[in-house]
Amino acid sequence: MRAPSRKSREPKVDLSVRIGPMELRNPVLTASGTFGYGDEYAHVVPLPSLGGVITKTVTLEPRAGNPPQRIAETAGGMLNTIGLENVGLLRFRSEKLPRLRSLGAVIVASIGGETPGELERLLGALGGEPGIAGFEINFSCPNIARGGARYWAVPRRLERTLARLRPLTRGAILAKLSPDVTSVGDLAIACEQGGADAVTAVNTFVGMALDLARRSSKLSRATGGLSGPAIKPLALQRCCEAARAVRIPVIGSGGILSGLDALEFMAVGAAAVQVGTASFIRPRAALQVLEEMEAFLRERGVRRIDDWRGSAMPSGDAVDEDPGRKPGLRAVTIVRADRSPRNRRGVRSPAFSRGRESRRA
């Protein structure tokens, strides 16, 4: 529980962040697919106190999702193959959106499509809806046969698609990336060039778990997406890599359970964070992350979250520096597959550093 009386006497920490056109009161958002359409948890989490609510990915048509078994617990995490079960565009607009608006949430609608054209139709339909502050484009679902993480892990496709989506809304556009790619940094650059306002790094990691008695997958599909604290170190690295590659804000996601976890992501350059699987364990997890974050910063006399952001960005490169890039540049990749000239357009002047957010003002 919060204790407003005590807090008001202490200096407040300015937690506000800007993501493209969105001015968020704090950097803690709920991750898509882990907070329903926002109203399921509203009786225990006052939604306006969160930075934002990212809704379950909606598709043009409703989806029934994959057959059971859809989830399997693993060490420190869980695998899921939900298969993007969702109510579809029409019901989202007529039923979910009005409800969420009435709850006073900052709404970020997650949309997913199998083709650029599908995303255009979705954003065309929702782009002008009042009360939606931004859109997160799910370029990274590991659990669908078409239009999933693999299809979208092509820089050129991402860039072109985002360029087509950009004119369709004045809200923020967030591009959510998969970690299972050769270089998250390269994909982030493509998103930036396509006109995205921010990049979310990352979605779940593809994983497997077997039932030895049946000698088959525990899930109804061979693979699922791994989430939870098990992926935090991996996600942190992907987030750091993305933050070093682009000037637009990066939103960290993956295994965040506590305020300290969130501060790690922000210290490597994330402008905001998402709380996912943690909400299944404690529905109030996002609020707790926020409270812990604030308390930690206050104790250390950090007045503004901006002063914290990027404060621990590694300066030397522990990972392979791309030999094709000019020395001294901050963009790093682990392994490079695509050396098309287009990729290099993401390389910026060495003057820019430290994941500072450039679009402010």
Binding site: H43, G77, I82
Partner: protein, 290 residues
């Protein structure tokens, strides 16, 4: 199309006591704070075992087997079998240990339907039915309790069951080996209850999957309504993660129309945690549920 406003909360709980209950079963008494609404029979709680005590990461769903009001909260009773990492960790918790409780969750047995309630319990499935029997007895309703297990030793909670039926109901035992009650399954025990046309029976069942499927078949052949408490692997328990689908039958799809309240599921799948765990047996596709 309206969904009942969720009333669940996550509250602190403390192990009051735990004891062996025979045949590898445990009885847990958990003291929870007053913000938790009193559960109904058939509803469940997500028990969050402290992470330092367990390798379990997600909470574990558990049916409520008894509820006792306290001055400052509730005493919840659970009957469970330690089978894996979470339930073994739970079994090792001493009195005083903290276990967070999220609930009450799901929809319980509709005990108020007209007709004689016939409670059918198999093995540890007796847990929610002990609670149902207690509620019926308190309401002064007459009921039948059919309780079956492998053998006498596995009729765990038999004394509890006896106490709850006292005066109000009749207890019918069955065991596979005939060491208690009739020799045979609970379905054979059901056969011996001749349905009275003037006073229809309504079945409320919980037990292993094969037993529930057999009860569903039995009920369908006799045009008796059977409510069955199902299980599924779960993550959230609140309808959010979409991890606990159960396939609907054609009847189930028709009953729900094309747009069921999304919290409950979709046309093809019901969510076990929100629409269930108790279902009308005709609404599920038993061929497609493992």
């Amino acid at each position: 199309m309206t969904v009942a406003v969720s009333a669940w909360r996550q509250v602190r709980g403390r192990v009051d006591q735990q004891a062996d209950f025979g045949a590898g079963h445990r009885w847990l008494e958990l003291r929870v704070t007053a913000e938790l609404e009193p559960p109904d029979p058939g509803q469940f709680i997500q028990l969050l075992i402290p992470s330092h005590a367990s390798g379990a990461f997600l909470p574990r769903p558990m049916s409520v087997a008894s509820v006792r009001p306290l001055r400052d909260g509730l005493m919840l009773g659970f009957l469970y079998v330690p089978i894996g990492v979470g339930t073994h960790a739970l079994a090792a918790l001493p009195a005083g240990a903290e276990v967070e409780a999220l609930g009450p969750l799901g929809r319980g047995f509709p005990l108020d339907r007209p007709g004689t309630p016939v409670l059918v319990a198999g093995g540890r499935g007796v847990a929610p039915l002990l609670f149902a029997a207690e509620s019926l007895a308190r309401l002064g309703r007459r009921f039948e309790l059919l309780f079956g297990a492998r053998d006498r030793a596995h009729l765990v909670g038999l004394d509890e069951a006896r106490r709850r039926v006292a005066g109000r109901g009749r207890l019918h035992l069955s065991t596979d080996d005939g060491s208690a009650g009739i020799k045979g399954t609970v379905v054979e025990a059901l056969d011996r209850l001749s349905p009275r046309p003037d006073h229809p029976m309504v079945i409320h069942a919980c037990g292993p999957h094969a037993m529930l499927a057999a009860v569903a078949r039995w009920a369908a052949e006799r045009r008796v309504t059977a409510w069955v408490a199902m299980e599924s692997v779960m993550a959230c328990g609140t309808g959010v993660c979409r991890g606990c689908p159960l396939a609907r039958s054609a009847r189930g799809r028709a009953a729900f129309g094309s747009q069921p309240p999304s919290l409950l599921g979709n046309r093809d799948y019901a969510m076990c945690c929100t629409e269930g765990p108790v279902f009308d047996s005709r609404d599920l596709d038993w061929e497609r549920i493992e």
